[in-house]
């Protein structure tokens, strides 16, 4: 199994959710997060005092997938999250040893 994690622009969340639903993904986890990439946030001015706000609001999405679906799902997420402008975010996959559905105790692919 693989865990697909994507840190994306908040207003791309709806598109990504829609794409995942179309792909047949049953569930996902979303977390508010913040951070910066190469563009390093933005500058704000208050009475002439400039502040660099380098932690930009982001949304972190996590989806578990079976190995054979993982690569395609990653592409689906990336495609839906892309606006082509700076700050679109990152996505990656990592191997997962196992997953358990808490309610039933089912393990592995059955738990997805």
């Amino acid at each position: 199994m693989k865990l697909i994690t994507a840190v994306i622009k908040p207003h791309q969340l709806e598109d990504v959710k829609e794409a995942l639903r179309a792909f047949g993904v049953q569930g996902l986890t979303v977390t508010e997060s913040s951070g910066y990439g190469r563009q390093r946030g933005h500058t704000e001015v208050y009475r002439g005092a400039e502040y660099t706000v380098d932690l930009v609001p982001k949304v972190r999405i996590e989806v578990l997938a079976e190995d054979e679906d993982a690569e395609e799902l990653l592409e689906v997420v990336v495609k839906a999250a892309r606006t082509g402008k700076i700050g679109d975010g990152k996505a990656w996959t990592v191997p997962v040893e196992t997953a358990v559905r808490v309610r039933t105790g089912e393990r592995g692919p059955d738990a997805l």
């Binding site: 908040p10 207003h11 969340l13 508010e32 001015v45 208050y46 009475r47 002439g48 502040y51 932690l55």
Partner: protein
């Protein structure tokens, strides 16, 4: 008794009353989350302290019979001899209406200074400071400027609604107190962004609205002078908004909301002493200059190294001086010229000298006795918890007093993008957000019990 004038002065008094909570919001929005309530309270407490002092001896010291041109006496202490039938000397309005109107000025002026000392002063010490400051600085200076026999009044200084007595006085007093108390921890290093610009605009709007009572009401009559003053108040303030924004756009590349709100206040300050003595073009000129110069002046604290947190010096002192001096040349009733300018300068600088010296001594006295400054721990974790046992906002999704609602809000926030501001605000002030959690954990069971009952 003139019923129309009385009604106008009473309503003006009510309008000026609104300026103090307006100021509280103006300042409150500009500080960080962790001390937002303290900022509101530093203004609000003035409504308590000065209302009491005013009747005990404040009114009498400011407007009682003159003693040597410097101060009134105690003939009217406790409003002795003043009844609902007492009329002012000219007979137009009840003494109580005039006293109520002037009381609101006495309340607002010390509150103005709070912005300079934001985020780092003990609340109790602040309360003592404004009581002493009103007694030793405001009441005498108000007497100098406005009372028959006051030496600046007799000199012929134009200060229609309080440019010297209120704004220069508070601005320079704030500077003295700042020099005693010192800089906020992290000044020029940590980000100290305003936590709520909408609150700042709300406060500025309430100030602007209340200022009509402040300025036009100072005519003490519903007449042409009050109409002129009201019109000039609006003109100067509008021009000052534009002046501030133009400077900002050229210097910093953006038309900021804080700049617009600050420009409005700068214009209101500058037209206060002068508005009844200039024409419409004069009012526009005063407003425009105030907007441009004050927006430049607020950066001085970074260059000179004093931490006037919310720019009381840059806005009130500088704006007050601009209005007070410019009217020397712009006055239209035949007074304008070098002689009047000299009188105006005498007024401005004598108030600056007296207020700075006495304010410094009061602040120093409190500082070396009970201590003016909050402890490092109180300052870094926020004055709201330290002095008011409260926090302004509940951002906490986990363990908050409304944990269910909190999680719900967070979840819907991720879907719609709303709630983003609140969440990032909590992030940007980690000390505040963690303190919210601590409080909630402690008071959790109590909250439940209350709900059950």
């Amino acid at each position: 008794m003139n019923g129309a004038d009385t009604a106008f002065v009473l309503i003006s008094a009510f309008l000026v009353m609104l300026m103090t909570p307006g100021l509280a919001f103006f300042y409150g929005g500009m500080v960080r989350v962790k001390s937002a309530l303290n900022m509101l309270m530093m203004s609000f407490i003035s409504l308590g302290v000065l209302s009491v002092l005013w009747v005990l001896y404040g009114y009498s010291l400011a407007f009682g019979p003159d003693t040597g041109g410097f101060i009134g006496n105690l003939d009217f202490a406790g409003f002795k001899g003043i009844t609902d039938g007492s009329l002012t000397e000219k007979g137009g309005i009840p003494v109580l209406a005039f006293a109520l109107f002037q009381m609101m000025f006495a309340i607002l002026t010390p509150a103005l200074m709070s912005g300079a000392l934001a985020d780092r002063v003990k609340f109790g010490a602040w309360t003592v400071f404004i009581a002493l400051w009103a007694t030793l600085v405001y009441f005498p200076v108000a007497h100098w400027v406005w009372a028959e026999g006051g030496w600046l009044f007799d000199l012929g200084v134009i200060d229609f609604a309080g440019g010297t007595a209120v704004h220069i006085n508070a601005g320079i007093g704030a500077l003295a107190a700042v020099l005693v108390v010192g800089k906020r921890i992290g000044f020029k290093k940590d980000p100290m962004r305003p936590h709520s610009l909408p609150l700042v605009v709300l406060g500025a709007a309430l100030l602007w609205f209340g200022w009509f009572g402040f300025n036009a009401g100072s005519a003490l009559a519903a007449d042409g002078t009050s109409a002129l003053m009201a019109m000039n108040t609006q003109l100067a303030t509008g021009a000052a908004v534009l002046g501030w924004l133009v400077y900002e756009r050229i210097r910093h590349g953006a038309f900021t909301t804080l700049g617009a709100a600050s420009g409005a206040v700068a214009g209101l300050v500058a037209i206060t002493p002068s508005g009844a003595n200039v024409n419409a073009m004069g009012a526009l000129a005063i407003g425009l200059v105030a907007g441009l110069v004050c927006s430049w002046a607020v950066s001085l604290k970074f260059k000179l190294g004093f931490d006037d947190s919310l720019d009381v010096v840059g806005v009130h002192l500088v704006g007050g001086v601009i209005g007070t001096l410019m009217v020397g040349f712009l006055a239209v009733d035949g007074d304008a010229g070098l002689a009047q300018f000299g009188k105006q300068a005498t007024g401005a600088f004598s108030v600056m000298g007296y207020s700075f010296a006495v304010s410094w001594i009061i602040a120093k006295l409190i500082h070396v006795t009970v201590g003016m400054r909050a402890s490092e721990d109180e300052e870094t974790s926020g004055l709201d918890r330290a002095y008011h046992a409260e926090t302004a906002y509940d951002f906490s999704a986990v363990g908050g007093s409304h944990s269910g609602a909190g999680v719900g809000a967070l979840a819907s926030g991720t879907g719609t993008g709303s709630g983003r501001g609140a969440a990032s605000q909590a992030d940007s002030s980690s000390a505040a957000s963690s303190s919210v959690r601590d409080d909630a954990a402690k008071s959790g069971p109590l909250t439940e019990k209350k709900v059950d009952a």
